[in-house]
Structure formats: structure tokens, C-alpha cells
């Protein structure tokens, strides 16, 4: 979706402000919010792309003003209610009003060390890779109302395939709960001027990780 989250190339947000000696969490609840998201993710009730889409669907004014972990907490409430796992009345009450539904699995403390590394998103290919390193490609001019990982600034732009990264779960499909729909992933390299016009720094190069359905031959 062409949402506020798709920030590449936007103006007006000001300087980057690094915080010296930044703590891992700025408040105790931030850690709890992160851990709740991780623990619920472990149960398999949604995919990583469904959770990203959950963030993207937050109202733009809230997205821009809420802290990172506040977005995570509110997204979690929203997804739990959407999935029918928790009632809005229960969130309001701060207590369960009905028994929970059965889940595939539940994260135990002893299993946490094994969940700190990311899973694999590689999947068997549905078809041979359409492109190879060195190919010129044009990104499609698509504007799906749902989740996509093709950023606006890199649509309808010509680049060069630099590498094939394997065949992975396709976020655009997975975010809708419609399965993995594996697609080839390519690093596609663009000249700065192709993306930003003649005033771009002449030597700038930017790459995206592009799923094959985002690309056509150029």
C-alpha cells in the first residue's frame, strides 16, 4: 500500500539524531511489548508480513507520532482482535473474559535461546529464475492497496540485476494469509540519477531486494 511507512526519498523529516549511549529499551514496557510480539509470533498465528502489514495499516498520524514500540503494542492488540484470539472487551477489561483458543504451540522460557535466530524464508521455486546477474530490468509501476515490498521511489525504474538471493516467501501474498507463493529475490542496483533525477549525487548507487513479480525485462 502507498502508505506513510514507505518513506524512501521523502523530505521534511529533518536531521538524523543519534542518541549517545542509547539503552536497549527506554522503558520497561518496551521490552514487554517486544517480547509479547515475539512470543505470539512463535505460536504461528500470523506471518512476519502480516505483522508488517499490521503496522502499515495504522493511521498515518499515529504512525508518525507514536514511538516504535507503541506501534508494536497497538498493532498487536489490533491483530489479536482481528484474528478473534482476544476480544476488544477483554483488552478494555485488562482480563480474560473467555477461555483462550487452542494454538499450535506456546513459547516456553527454555526454548527462547533457539528462537533468537531468524528462520529461513527460502522455499522451493515454482519456476526457474527469469533473470540472471547483469540483466537490465524495469521495476513495475504497481500500486497495490495491500502489502508490498516494492518501495514507491523504486517503481518504474531501470536497474541492473546484481545477484540472485534465492527463492523466498512472497510478502505480497503472505501478508494476506494466502500462503508462501515463493518468488525469486534479486538485488537490483540503480544509479542515483535514475531514482532522483539529474540533481542526484552522480556516483550514488542504491539497491533494493526485489521479488521477481516486481520486475520486467528492460
Amino acid at each position: 500500500m502507498d502508505g506513510i511507512h514507505d518513506m524512501g526519498g521523502m523530505h521534511g523529516f529533518g536531521k538524523v539524531e543519534p542518541e549517545p549511549n542509547e539503552p536497549v529499551f527506554h522503558a520497561e514496557w518496551e521490552g514487554r511489548a517486544l517480547a509479547l510480539n515475539r512470543a505470539l509470533g512463535y505460536t504461528g498465528i500470523w506471518t512476519i508480513d502480516q505483522t508488517r502489514y499490521g503496522i502499515e495499516r495504522l493511521p498515518p498520524d499515529f504512525y508518525l507520532t507514536a514511538s516504535y514500540y507503541k506501534k508494536w503494542a497497538v498493532r498487536l492488540e489490533n491483530l489479536l482482535v482481528e484474528k478473534g484470539l482476544v476480544g476488544a472487551d477483554e483488552i478494555k477489561a485488562g482480563h480474560a473474559l473467555r477461555p483462550g483458543k487452542p494454538l499450535k504451540r506456546k513459547l516456553a522460557a527454555a526454548d527462547v535461546p533457539n528462537t533468537l535466530s531468524r528462520g529461513s524464508f527460502a522455499r522451493p521455486a515454482q519456476a526457474p529464475a527469469r533473470f540472471k546477474a547483469g540483466d537490465r530490468v524495469r521495476t513495475r509501476n504497481i500500486h497495490p492497496q495491500t502489502h508490498t515490498r516494492l518501495p514507491r521511489y523504486a517503481r518504474d525504474r531501470v536497474g541492473i540485476v546484481e545477484a540472485i538471493r534465492g527463492c523466498h516467501v512472497f510478502p505480497d501474498t503472505a501478508a494476506l494469509g494466502k500462503g508462501d507463493d515463493p518468488q525469486w529475490v534479486y538485488t537490483v542496483l540503480f544509479e542515483g540519477r535514475e531514482l532522483w533525477g539529474e540533481n542526484a549525487e552522480p556516483t550514488l548507487k542504491v539497491s533494493i531486494e526485489a521479488f521477481e513479480p516486481y520486475l520486467e525485462p528492460a
Binding site: E28, R32, R38, R165
Partner: protein
């Protein structure tokens, strides 16, 4: 003490509490989820402890220091970072799609996620606030030299910038150049030069003179 608000009298208890709105909100959600049997609060404690104490940029710094010291490891790292990092034994497992990108006098690499906050958690820990912020995500792809200036970093004019937007499940770590004047240094001493920001590409390694 506000006297004219609309709250019930019971709410006065809250005014003296240090709990913020979000602390209460997240605590309530945790209570609901625990009562429904979806989560084990002890697992949450273990996750938080891991990110506060075990997973962090010190892991990435060891990887970089090893690459600076061992040419064979560096080749393996650039070839397949996931495999090479696991072989190093710092972590029992690393996700499948880690990619190390090497800086050179000709090219400086910078990592961003313009769409959300994708970041190599396993080797760098949780991303800092600035990495997830609108200023960084908006400008890194169009004005990376300006972003570097925000960090107080100026590259030589002959060094081009390459930005990697993490738009899929591949994750990137920058392999910075080994500072001059560190010949004969141990891996441990070298690791002390490696900052989180230099592995994202918004910084450079520390000056060897500043590390005793």
C-alpha cells in the same frame, strides 16, 4: 493536583503512580494473554534478558575483527555470511540470509530499511531509535552523504556511496576497512574499534589512538 477533571474518584490512585499509559496498557495486554494461555511470562523475561545482555553489536564486532585478521574467514564471510558467522561459534544459529558488504577506498556501504526497520538483529542486536526513524529512512537512499554529515562523518571525495535498502528477508552488515596503525593487534583489541554504526555504514571504526 487537578481538581476539575472528569475522572471517577477512584482514579486518584493513578495520579501518584509512576506507571505511564503505555506501561499500564502493555501490562493489561500481557495479563489478558497469560490468562488466555497464549503466553508464558517467564518466556518474555528470557527474551528481554537475551536482548539486554546476549544479543548485541559486540557479536558483529567479533565478526569484523575476525575478518580483519583472517583472510580466509573474510572470503568465507563475503561469500556466505550466515555460514561463516555460525562457523565462528559466536551464535548457535544465524538466519539464512545474512550478507556482508565490504567497504573499500572506492566504495562506502550503508544499510537502511525504508519500509520498516529490517536490521541484522543476530549480529547487531535491536536497532537504535534513529535507524527506525523517519529522518534516516527517508534520506538514506537519496542523500546518504547528508546523513553521514548528521553523524559527523565526511568521506573522501573519491569514495562513492552504495546504499542497500533491506526490502526483503536478506539482511546486511557492513564490513568496514581495517584502520591503519593496527598491525599485529589481537582480534580482541581490534573488536574494540568496531562500533555498531560502522557496521550499519553511518560511522567509521574508532581511531586506534583512542583505544588504549
Amino acid at each position: 493536583m487537578a481538581q476539575n477533571h472528569d475522572h471517577d474518584h477512584d482514579d486518584h490512585h493513578e495520579h501518584g503512580s509512576e506507571l505511564s499509559e503505555m506501561q499500564l496498557r502493555v501490562r493489561a495486554l500481557e495479563t489478558v494473554l497469560a490468562e488466555k494461555g497464549y503466553i508464558d511470562p517467564a518466556a518474555l523475561d528470557a527474551i528481554i534478558e537475551a536482548y539486554e545482555t546476549k544479543v548485541g553489536p559486540h557479536n558483529g564486532a567479533r565478526v569484523v575483527a575476525k575478518a580483519w585478521s583472517d583472510p580466509a574467514f573474510k572470503r568465507a564471510l563475503v561469500e556466505n555470511a550466515s555460514k561463516a558467522v555460525v562457523a565462528l561459534g559466536l551464535m548457535n544459529r544465524v538466519g539464512d540470509h545474512l550478507i556482508a558488504v565490504e567497504n573499500s577506498p572506492k566504495q562506502h556501504n550503508m544499510i537502511v530499511c525504508t519500509l520498516c526497520s529490517c536490521y541484522p538483529w543476530e549480529v547487531l542486536g535491536l536497532p537504535p531509535v534513529w535507524y527506525k526513524s523517519a529522518p534516516y529512512r527517508s534520506r538514506a537512499v537519496s542523500d546518504p552523504r547528508g546523513v553521514l554529515a548528521d553523524f559527523g562523518v565526511a568521506l573522501p571525495a573519491g569514495t562513492d556511496i552504495r546504499v542497500w535498502d533491506s526490502t526483503a528477508e536478506t539482511r546486511f552488515i557492513v564490513l568496514p576497512m581495517r584502520p591503519a596503525g593496527t598491525e599485529g593487534w589481537s582480534e580482541e583489541k581490534l573488536a574494540a574499534l568496531v562500533t555498531r554504526d560502522c557496521m550499519i555504514g553511518t560511522g567509521l571504526p574508532k581511531n586506534p589512538k583512542d583505544v588504549a
